[in-house]
Amino acid sequence: MTIATILRRGTVLFVLIALVIFFSLNSDRFLQERNLVNIAVQNAHIIIVTVGMTLVMLSGGIDLSIGSVAALTGAVAAGLIVQNSVPVPLAMLLGLALGFAIGLINGWMVVYGKLPPFVATLAMLGMARGLTLVYTNGRPIANIGDEFTFWGRGTIGPIPTPIVVWVVVVIVAILLMTRTRFGLHIYAIGGNEETARLAGVPVNRVKMLTFGISGFLAALGGLLLTARVFSAQPQAAVGLELDAITAAVLGGVSLFGGVGNIPGAIIGALLVGVLGNGMNLLRVASYPQQVIQGVVLVLAVTIDMYTKRLERGAPKT
């Protein structure tokens, strides 16, 4: 079932494979274990927030605030540890709770404030970033201690911790979306909110929770990022929401909700990660990388669109 859905999302997978082949032909280091692990570690936070973004997008919404939320929660956790000597696990839990709470506020604005998700989370993007700057006073919080950096730099057995975390998140998310009632309800709401309501789906609760999960995962991503770079930067994760949207869209998640799945979105996130890593290895300067990333996004979506059109044959109006 899962493999079948991945295959159905073939186009982007093939683009990913083509990229892998291209980079491995042009760089000896690309296929080395160390590099592959590196890709998986460096993109851990992107993959995690992409999962949250995918959930929100499947329900027909969008969450532009995740970059700011990641920065804020990372900073708050780091601050609690460094400035208030709060135990690391508790600080991290508080960070996660904060992310979840902000997500719920987003959800509240959308569900009860009747704001378009775009506007609500756009405002939250500004507010959360502002709070980060206020909290950190615009300065990084460093010396966060080994117990915290373990989550970005350590290993569990032979496997780096961030990889373990994102793999767990992805597996849980896949189970959530394919096995549970909650997952099905997200698809249903994204497909047609009114219909779902009539069928007895608790639409408001599901939407609130979806935004909550997105905020929670943004916080988790922010914590891993903070742990990996040893410090909480007030300008961390700027534009992370765009990476997540790019990944999800590449992975076939519809901007209008109801269509797409987690594995596809993860492939999208990996594509973004592999592209960045490969270009680094090929010594592509960082500036053209942005151009190339944009071009790849446009190209991949275009190709995907045309293959789907071919598959259908008939133009539908």
Binding site: G313, A314, T317
Partner: protein, 262 residues
């Protein structure tokens, strides 16, 4: 322009076919519409009615075949071509833009402009006064009563909206008016008004109509000629005077399982 004679059909549909990928939606459809005639196009869902309408109105391109308008072969590449040729279509649900007022809707795509300065040419300055005046005049000629041409159409009822859409089509359609399911969403009284409008336009102005409808009684009432499609094929053309409702239905459902109802 050719000299018009009444013998010449207004529109000849000649051997139109249309394929979507492997699906053959229309296969060799041919029929004529005489000036001043009301032709009904009927058939089950998927018979190809909408496809044919979309081809005549320039929305789709036929895979093969051609049209002749008053004897002259013509091709419609875009909706604008068909409109220019004087063929107007009132689509079932796609009639008016909610956010615009009545006059703006009637003149959509054919605005009256004024000013020829740089700005005027670049953006096209509207002559709203003229458009509103003409709209009011045109609609009142059709006995379509609307409170004001400046009324936004979102405040109008379904019947009023359709009346305005038909009014627009009549205003611009010199040759042929195509009505796609004109009465599907209307109540009894409104349907009656629309049918009456069609009859009057045909009698007084010799307008030519092509009507697509599920409602056989409406069709039977207003049409002179009935063209029946079934699964993309043209199965019959019947004159109303020479047929019965039962026969039409039999053709629609496939002549063998001749089903009589009503």
């Amino acid at each position: 322009m050719l000299k018009m004679t009444t013998d010449l059909p207004l529109l000849s549909v000649r051997n139109i076919t249309k394929a979507f990928g492997a699906v053959q939606a229309l296969q060799g459809i041919s029929f004529d519409i005489a000036p001043g005639e009301v032709v009904a196009l009927v058939g089950d869902n998927g018979a190809g009615k909408s496809t044919l309408v979309k081809i005549i109105s320039g929305l789709y391109k036929a895979s093969s075949g051609e049209f002749a308008l008053r004897g002259q072969t013509c091709h419609f590449e875009t909706p604008a071509d068909a409109l220019k040729a004087g063929i107007e279509t009132v689509y079932q649900d796609l009639a008016l833009i909610d956010q615009l007022d009545v006059a703006d809707n009637v003149y959509l795509g054919r605005e009256v402009l004024r000013g020829s300065g740089f700005l005027g040419r670049l953006f096209g300055v509207l002559n709203r006064a003229t458009m509103r005046r003409e709209t009011a005049a045109a609609l009142s000629q059709l006995h379509i009563k609307i409170p004001a041409p400046t009324m936004p159409v979102r405040m109008m009822s379904g019947g009023q909206r359709l009346a305005v859409a038909i009014g627009r089509a009549v205003t611009w359609g010199r040759e042929l008016l195509i009505l796609d399911e004109p009465t599907a969403a209307l109540g009894v009284e409104e349907t009656e008004q629309v049918l009456r409008m069609i009859e009057e336009l045909r009698q007084k102005q010799r307008m030519t109509f092509m009507i697509i409808s599920h409602n056989m009684q409406d069709v039977y009432r207003v049409a002179d000629k009935i063209v029946i499609l079934r699964q993309g094929r043209h199965v019959a053309t019947l004159r109303k005077t020479e047929t019965t409702l039962e026969e039409i239905v039999a053709y629609i459902t496939g002549a063998k399982q001749k089903r009589v109802e009503r």
